[in-house]
């Protein structure tokens, strides 16, 4: 182990790690909105809309993230969709994670007993009010836990963005190996950084979960 080298390359890797965090956080943020829209469509009363959402979820979950990235980045310009690598990573990541997340959100909402919905409606709450005051607070715990798992998968998947030449953690690590010929040191450091990022994500999830389930069960 060459510790001098490790100290020397740390700033570069930290900078790249920040890109990883940035791209994942943005994808998660936009993915959440996409997922919300998908859940709305998926539970719609109009059958074609429901089928559209189902088809989208099925196709996105059924094809690898890798292929989706390549398709949008290299196939996009052919149909006039020209994105710079970072934006492409965020957009594809958001649309990809949105499909998974919509299933997670739907599962959480459906896990709330249907009696709650009926009771609330019969007390005079509207559909949206019921969702806001009765259903979502009870579904929040499970929802946060599921989204947490997906966020971790998103961070790990963000290493794939390196193939469309976004300089994030894995890409930077490979470049550094190319110039230093020290794979063990560089990969150890980058693995440590992934552990730190994901540990932070788990901490945030745990904190939000505690807050969301403050007044319920156990």
């Amino acid at each position: 182990m060459d510790f001098n080298l490790m100290i020397e390359i740390t700033p570069l890797l930290v900078k790249a790690a920040w890109v990883t965090v940035d791209i994942s956080a943005r994808a998660l943020f936009f993915g959440f909105f996409i997922a919300s829209v998908l859940v709305f469509f998926r539970t719609s009363r109009i059958t074609p809309v429901r089928w559209l959402a189902r088809a989208y979820i099925s196709v996105v979950r059924g094809t690898p993230y890798f292929v989706q990235l390549l398709l949008v980045f290299y196939g996009g310009p052919a149909v006039g969709l020209r994105l710079d690598p970072f934006t492409c990573g965020v957009v594809v990541g958001a649309f990809n994670i949105g499909a998974y997340m919509s299933e997670a959100i739907r599962g959480a909402i459906e896990s709330v007993d249907s009696g709650q919905n009926e009771a609330s409606r019969s007390l005079g709450f509207g559909r949206l009010e019921t969702l806001q005051y009765i259903i979502l607070p009870q579904a929040a715990g499970l929802m946060i836990r599921s989204i947490g798992v997906l966020a971790i998968i998103l961070v790990k998947n963000s290493s794939l963005v390196s193939i469309i030449s976004v300089i994030e953690l894995t890409y930077q690590a490979q470049r550094l190996i190319g110039s230093t010929y020290k794979p063990l040191e560089v990969f150890t450091l980058s693995a440590l950084m992934y552990i730190v990022i994901i540990y932070a994500v788990m901490g945030i999830v745990e904190f939000l979960y505690r807050r969301a389930t403050r007044y319920t069960f156990l």
């Binding site: 299933e103 459906e110 896990s111 715990g141 599921s146």
Partner: protein
């Protein structure tokens, strides 16, 4: 470019073997990670800190490190101590990885079953373990289904990573066939379609179980 699918047909028996291996691993890992995840979740929730601290560490360890690293560690690291067949290492590695993810989901769903259910069941004369087994866990399982199926779909795609430790699953086999026939596109398209079919079947399974769950609730 021209597509010529005749080599795919020629090598289809080999490919079929790969599909078999993928399905076998997928099934084994699914069973292991779902049941194991439930066991881990129950132990984490219902035992003392001394017992569940190692399990929490286990979940933490498998969640924070990449799958490939875990596989290399299990295969090449443990391989120096005892010789384990690659397929067993693959199933164990993937199984532990997704067991950690599933356990995290089960912890949330078990806690989301209202405590009234537990109390009602105890007052009806069920013991602690029976209450868990007959009342809490079934409800928790049905609630976990959508996210479980997410995890399992991601898992099926992750089986391709196992080709790195030399397991002859679909991608490995098709890479071999490509190196002989020099027809990458045809083979990759074929296995992409097969993966998609597997995922469609899994989605159908998810909808079927969810219907049954809605009926029983």
């Amino acid at each position: 470019m021209e597509f010529d699918f005749s080599p795919v047909i020629e090598y289809f028996p080999t490919l079929l073997q790969g599909i078999g291996v993928t399905l076998l691993i997928g099934l084994a890992v699914a069973v292991m990670s779902v049941i194991g995840g439930q066991i881990v979740a129950v132990i984490t929730l219902y035992t003392r800190k001394v017992v569940n601290w190692p399990l929490r560490f286990f979940i933490w360890l498998f969640m924070t490190t990449p799958l490939l690293l875990q596989l290399y560690f299990l295969y090449f690291g443990l391989g120096e101590l005892i010789l384990i067949p690659a397929i067993v290492v693959g199933i164990l590695g993937l199984g532990f990885h997704y067991m950690a993810y599933n356990a995290d989901i089960f912890i949330a769903t078990i806690r989301s079953v209202s405590s009234g259910q537990y109390e009602a069941s105890r007052s009806l004369g069920f013991g602690h373990v029976r209450t868990l087994f007959y009342v809490i866990l079934p409800q928790a399982f049905y609630r976990a289904l959508p996210q479980l199926s997410n995890n399992m779909i991601i898992m099926v795609k992750d089986i391709s990573v196992l080709s790195a430790i030399g397991i002859g699953e679909m991608v490995y086999v098709s890479q071999y066939a490509i190196s002989v026939t020099f027809r990458p596109f045809e083979f990759y398209i074929t296995i992409a379609v097969i993966y998609y079919l597997i995922n469609l079947m899994m989605e159908a399974g998810q909808t079927w179980i969810e219907r049954r769950a809605a009926y029983r609730r």
